[in-house]
């Protein structure tokens, strides 16, 4: 048994360590805190959005150990030791990530609320390496809802980055 947080109903916390956007963070978290709420409520990393809190919209997408996941369905305590990259971590020294720049250039958003999730998802999708055609990009990006309906431009932006080979 590695960790036992104690008796139920107690306000027990568990010590965890996360590398978030390159910075090692040692944190005490309650086991019921999701990674999303940890980022938004405790660490003021509000770039990661809560759209549904149930894995049905993709606004909360972050990269955990390089893989895109819905941070709303991940308990922070279970990610102990993981590396987390959020939208804030994609920008390096004030320079936009190629996907961020392409989203601006292609007007791949309107209200902007789903945008960090779209971009993190696209980064994860490109790293996965399974999507190549527009049809495949559309399918692979279907876990990120954009109610403003910017899908056409989102696919344009992603395709642009994939073709230029600029994505890290």
């Amino acid at each position: 048994m590695l960790i036992d947080s104690g008796s139920p109903r107690a306000m027990e916390t568990v010590g965890i360590s996360l590398t978030i956007n390159g910075e090692v963070r040692t944190l005490e978290v309650a086991p019921w805190t999701t990674l999303l709420d940890l980022l938004r409520e405790r660490l003021d990393l509000t770039g990661t959005k809560k759209g549904c809190d149930h894995g049905q919209c993709g606004a909360c997408t972050v990269l955990v150990d390089g893989k895109r996941i819905n941070s709303c369905l991940a308990l922070a305590v279970m990610k102990d030791g993981a590396t987390v990259t959020t939208i804030e971590g994609l920008t390096e020294a004030g320079t936009l990530h190629p996907l961020q720049a392409a989203f601006v250039e292609h007007d791949a958003f309107q209200c902007g609320y789903c945008t960090p999730g779209q971009i993190c998802s696209a980064a994860g999708m490109i790293a996965e390496g399974h999507a190549r055609s527009r049809d495949e990009i559309r399918e692979a990006m279907s876990g990120n809802i954009c109610r403003c309906g910017a899908y056409t431009n989102i696919v344009d932006a992603i395709e642009d980055v994939m073709q230029s080979g600029a994505a890290r």
Binding site: K49, C52, Q56, D107, C111, G112, R138, S142, Y151
Partner: protein
């Protein structure tokens, strides 16, 4: 000054494509939304939603919740602080007639999902957990939520909603003309209830500033509306309430009215004298406004060539028990088509739900859907091409108001849209076009929306470093307002866009209305233009007064503002920089606040509408009822386009929501318990990326004089008619005329 905001071809910023000025903030996650602002000692509220649709709360047990460590207080109707008494105080700027809903007011349950308690705790998770421990007992009554079943109680709303034109008096004799018409069509139509579902759930962060003052970050399409509401409900002075909302994570109409989380957050903050945030869950986003359930009948009488001889359009719309929500559903029919015998009606029926809310092109989405499917039927009934039929009945004036259109390039929309789409290659026979196993359908429809302008003010400040700040209190709801106002301001004062900052969504800024109705570009744009022109005039005066001024004897209407300088038109060698003029004038800033409103003289003479022609291709696996929208061409006539890039996005977004309307979106009511059951994004289906293929937008520019900018607005027109064009394409593909949308699998394999 030589005016450059026109179609003269001299525009530098206005009329050209620019990336969003707020883009970098949005793609880096730095743009903050209402529920994301931090405050010292912030408490978190979680709403407990009621489970019955009608009845009373007989007991509400909060002790267990209150016992959870970290819980600060549980608010219910039994212990809520006193607020205003009269309905009047709860009626926000866009409220329909009636008694607005009051959260935690008493023990009466008006609808399913009604907030019955607010748990406030030190952290979000504690509030959420404690909320699950609040136990509510009810004396339930049988709800009525089926509009059809309430049809016998239909009524004309006694009080009309401000800004919503009731149906005009009939003209001619629609009944007699229908009876006499060689071709008669009369059918019922329905569009399912839809929920807006902006990606950002409603949230309010109320920062307790001390001494009874609060700063509120509210999810709202116009902060002035929230400010006025809070002041009236809580008996506060407006200067004690500052409301901000620099970014809105989607509105589509559900952000027009202050919603109950705002009331609850302010109530709790005032009671606890500390900062409180209340964010609703996605499921709770189904517990207030929605696009109403409207039952329609369209009856068309025509001669054998398809010329309309009689037009009837009747609508019965659901509303709540407490407010008479109204929208324009039927008038569009008589605005779009020229007919001498017209009768239109619009009635309400009450059901036990929350009040419906304006949802993107409210009324037009619903009414034009029915009309344009009916017109497609008429085209088939008379053997006319659908475009030709519309041209044959083309209206040169708005007969509901008896006015010609100030501009109406709809003919060009039909022509350009049809050409781009390849409409002439269409074999009109249903089921005649196939590709492999799939049936191919080509359909079209018309769209129409009002071109509105509202009284709006704006401020501008030019500082002696050559930087300009403009703004007002309206919101950028994703439409691109930050960007176009920046373009307009840069254009007027001849500054690089990088030197212009636009501020929005703050009641400390010049007052402007909510962002809705597609009126923001015209209203705020004109106000910003006027404020910048005032600054231009002031700085010009300083420039002319300079010693040995190169502009000494030049009139204002002979200069241009370009590259940060004021120059004589046609003689750039004679110029003064704005900075030098201000230095000479011994000022470190020049400020102006200007107001702009609709030109009532023009409006008296001319009707102002945007129009569209939408062409759609669907491919259908008939056997399995699977529809794919493979191509959409949307040709839009909406006056002057300020920014083709963001304008196109607005139309794309409208088309996507139209695809959702046509094929996917449906809030399903269980009438036994009076509750929307698919209250989440997993089961309420909005389009995903895979649903959207090739969308093409054409702008047909128009010269319109309704406002100095010549703009008409784009937020709504992209959705209107889209669902009808899809339904018509489905008919062309399959021969199935589906008049009950969305067109889901079950209806296609039937």
């Amino acid at each position: 000054m030589v005016t450059t905001i026109s179609s003269t071809g001299t525009d530098r910023y206005v009329g050209t494509a620019h990336s969003r000025v707020d883009g970098p903030a949005k793609v880096t996650g730095l743009a903050k939304y209402a529920g994301e602002f931090a405050a010292p000692d912030l408490a978190h509220g979680y709403v407990v939603s009621g489970g019955i649709a009608k009845g009373r709360i007989t007991a509400i047990e909060t002790a267990e919740a209150e016992a959870v460590p970290g819980v600060i207080k549980v608010f219910t109707h039994e212990n809520r602080p006193r607020t205003a008494w009269l309905d009047y105080n709860y009626r926000d700027a866009v409220a329909p007639p009636g008694s607005p809903f009051r959260a935690l007011y008493d023990d009466v349950i008006h609808y399913s999902g009604q907030p019955v308690a607010l748990v406030v705790a030190e952290d979000f998770e504690t509030a959420r957990h404690a909320a699950s421990l609040v136990k509510v007992a009810y004396a339930a009554e049988v709800p009525a939520t089926d509009v059809d079943a309430q049809a016998e109680f239909a009524y004309d709303p006694p009080k009309k909603r401000a800004g919503i034109k009731p149906p005009p008096q009939p003209w001619g004799d629609a009944t007699a003309a229908y009876e006499a018409a060689p071709v008669k069509l009369s059918n019922d139509y329905r569009l399912a209830v839809e929920h807006h579902n902006p990606m950002e759930p409603h949230a309010s962060t109320v920062v307790w500033d001390g001494n009874g003052r609060i700063t509120v970050y509210d999810k709202i399409q116009g902060v002035s509306n929230s400010q006025g509401y809070i002041a009236a409900v809580f008996g506060m002075k407006k200067d004690e309430v500052r409301v901000l909302n620099p970014y809105l994570g989607g509105g589509f109409g559900i952000g027009l009215r202050p919603q109950y989380q705002l009331f609850l957050a302010v109530m709790a903050a005032r009671d606890l004298e500390r900062s409180v945030r209340v964010t609703l869950t996605r499921d709770q986003m189904f517990t207030f406004g929605y696009r109403p359930d409207v039952r329609q009948r369209v009856s068309l009488g025509a001669d054998a060539a398809g010329n309309l001889q009689s037009l009837r359009h009747d609508a019965l719309s659901g509303t709540s028990r407490f407010e008479d929500y109204q929208e324009v559903v039927v008038n569009w029919s008589a605005i779009l088509y020229d007919c001498d015998n017209v009768a239109l009606s619009y009635k309400l029926a009450q059901i036990d739900t929350y009040t419906p809310a304006d949802m993107r092109a409210p009324g037009a989405v619903t009414g034009v859907l029915a009309l344009e499917i009916a017109m497609d039927k008429l085209a088939y009934a008379t053997g006319q091409d659908p475009v030709a039929l519309r041209l044959a009945n083309y209206s040169e004036r708005d007969r509901t108001e008896g006015k010609p259109f100030g501009s109406k390039a709809l003919r060009a929309c039909y022509a350009q849209g049809a050409e781009r789409f390849g409409w002439e290659r269409r074999n009109p026979k249903p089921r005649s076009m196939t590709e492999g196993r799939e049936l191919v359908g080509w359909g079209m429809a018309t769209g129409v929306w009002e071109a509105l302008m509202q009284q709006s003010s704006a401020q501008a400040t030019l500082t002696s470093d050559g930087k300009l700040v403009v703004g007002n209190s309206t919101g950028d709801i994703g439409t691109g307002t930050y960007t176009i106002l920046t373009q307009i301001a840069a254009e007027v004062l001849g500054l690089p866009m990088e030197d212009v900052t636009t501020k929005l969504g703050d009641t400390d800024l010049a007052e402007a209305p909510v962002a809705g109705g597609s009126w923001t570009a015209a209203s705020s744009g004109t106000a910003v233009m006027k404020a910048c022109r005032k600054i231009a005039a002031d700085v010009f005066a300083m420039a002319r007064a300079m010693d040995d001024s190169p502009l000494a004897n030049v009139d204002f209407d002979r200069v241009v503002f370009e590259g940060g300088r004021i120059a004589v038109a046609g003689d750039p060698s004679r110029s003064v920089s704005l900075v030098d003029a201000m230095t000479a004038g011994a000022v470190d800033k020049v400020e102006a606040t200007e107001s702009a409103g609709p030109d009532s003289g023009h409006a008296k003479e001319f009707a102002a509408y945007t129009h569209s022609a939408i062409f759609v291709e669907v491919k259908i696996d008939e056997d399995l009822g699977q529809v794919r929208v493979t191509r959409v061409v949307s040709a839009i006539a909406a006056g002057k386009i300020i920014n083709p890039k963001t304008a196109r996005s607005q139309i794309l977004g409208g088309v996507v929501m139209g695809i959702g309307s046509a094929l996917e979106e449906e809030s399903m009511l269980d009438h036994t318990i009076g509750r929307f059951m698919n209250h989440n994004l997993g089961e309420y289906h909005v389009p995903v990326n895979a649903d959207i293929q090739n969308l093409d937008v054409i702008f047909v520019e128009e010269e319109d004089k309704a406002n100095p900018m010549g703009v008409k607005g784009l937020g709504e027109i992209g959705i209107v008619g889209t669902a009808a064009a899809i339904a018509n394409a489905v008919f062309h593909a399959t021969g199935k005329r589906i008049r009950d949308l969305p067109i889901t699998v079950d209806k296609l394999i039937d």
